[in-house]
Symmetry: D2
Subunit: 141 residues, 4 copies
């Protein structure tokens, strides 16, 4: 069973709102940094994917917010690939802080040709590269 | 049947990414401006809600991205209340540009006491105020 | 004597920080929207400049913050060109709200070739286009 | 002679613009993370300053941009206190990447009473705490 890829980041002052907590929109940005780290682990970096002629765009996102996180909190961000389709893939994201679950997300990205921005099938190198962080069983809850 | 509340905003240079399109995380921010406009239409402004002792926090979001929008595009943002629960409510959001559907979202906000940040029932004035933009039939697709 | 070009924008919830005021970094973004509006007034839009093969990059910025602006405040943003050099130009920016001066900035942008990103002289069409909003006397205070 | 306090951060995808480089407004945000790290080193964290009844607001900023930084670049951010006045202080910031100077800034913050937001003199504990990263000679170039 695959383990999620985990990295951490600190919540910045500018990301916190009048309620004193990280504003919701920043979580899509935080989860995007997890994709960057996944691409680094799997392919040596996002640029390497671009150099092979493909890029990805977000098609769908589902987010749940459980508890607020605050300025200077260190978020632990975990990502796991839960589905590899023909031209798209799904990831599950968790943001935690000090042992508490802060937020979760499921994202669906579509792979596109870098020039035409048209949907393109996932190449084998892409499937193989993220295999260590792929657990298609995890999609079912 | 209620009509959605509509306002427009221009996509800023800083909101566009390497792909030349508005980055996905900004849409949660754009839809949040629709909440601000809804609160202005319903209660004279967000501050008036705070002054009555309640605030709201985002609990859930579902987003679908259909087409990219670009720098300097004028987005038309529409919001409709689709469900009023005991302590939470749902809104449906559409972002369009030049007649094309760009993105959609469903948001669930929870009403909280402004001091304790604990869940609190929707007061009558809040239900009454947003009634003109509430269509609970719209929740069903 | 040239008049500054003025437009307005509303401060968004996500732009306000723990102190309840628009966070300082957003002002560079606000003033950038003034550049977008200036380019629209002068050339029909930023894209038209790109289509003519040039782009601009920020080389220097000086900002002074006088008073805080708050969520949902309507900022009045004024921009005036104060210097046209060989390859760069300066603009002066003011952000006001309800008759009060909130912040000021002086920006120096460098014109670059869109492909090579090397400095390039300001073409005549660029000088002519912004002439109505250019007051080189204004540079001296 | 004091050494600057240094930390690093990676440039996020969402922070890069159509030109493929980190957008200028984000640098004020990056330099603000240096203030957070300085406060952590000097006082154990920004919250500790708040707990002692003071806060700070940015009054002036001067930025110079030398070279672009790109998505996924690791920025090295250095901060040095260059002046301690009665109610305000100045910091100098450098952002570098792979041995190249990317941008510099000088910031002037004003210390304020946390409740009234009125200017307040720098307390001795604040002067003492940042002393290891203070070099008032450095202000003179």
């Amino acid at each position: 069973m695959a383990e999620p890829l985990v990295h951490t980041l600190r919540i910045r002052y500018a990301e916190c709102d009048l309620q004193g907590v990280a504003f919701n929109a920043h979580y899509l940005n935080y989860f995007d940094t997890s994709m960057t780290e996944l691409w680094r682990a799997a392919y040596g970096g996002y640029q390497n994917m671009l150099d092979r002629g493909v890029d990805m765009v977000l098609a769908e996102a589902r987010l749940r917010f459980y508890r607020p996180a605050r300025f200077d909190d260190e978020l632990e961000l975990a990502v796991l690939v839960t589905h590899l389709g023909r031209t798209s893939f799904r990831t599950r994201h968790r943001a935690g802080c000090a042992g508490e679950l802060i937020a979760e997300a499921e994202l669906r990205h579509v792979l596109v040709d870098r020039q035409t921005v048209a949907k393109t099938p996932l190449p084998d190198w892409l499937r193989d590269g993220i295999e260590p962080w792929t657990d298609t069983e995890a999609a079912q809850d």
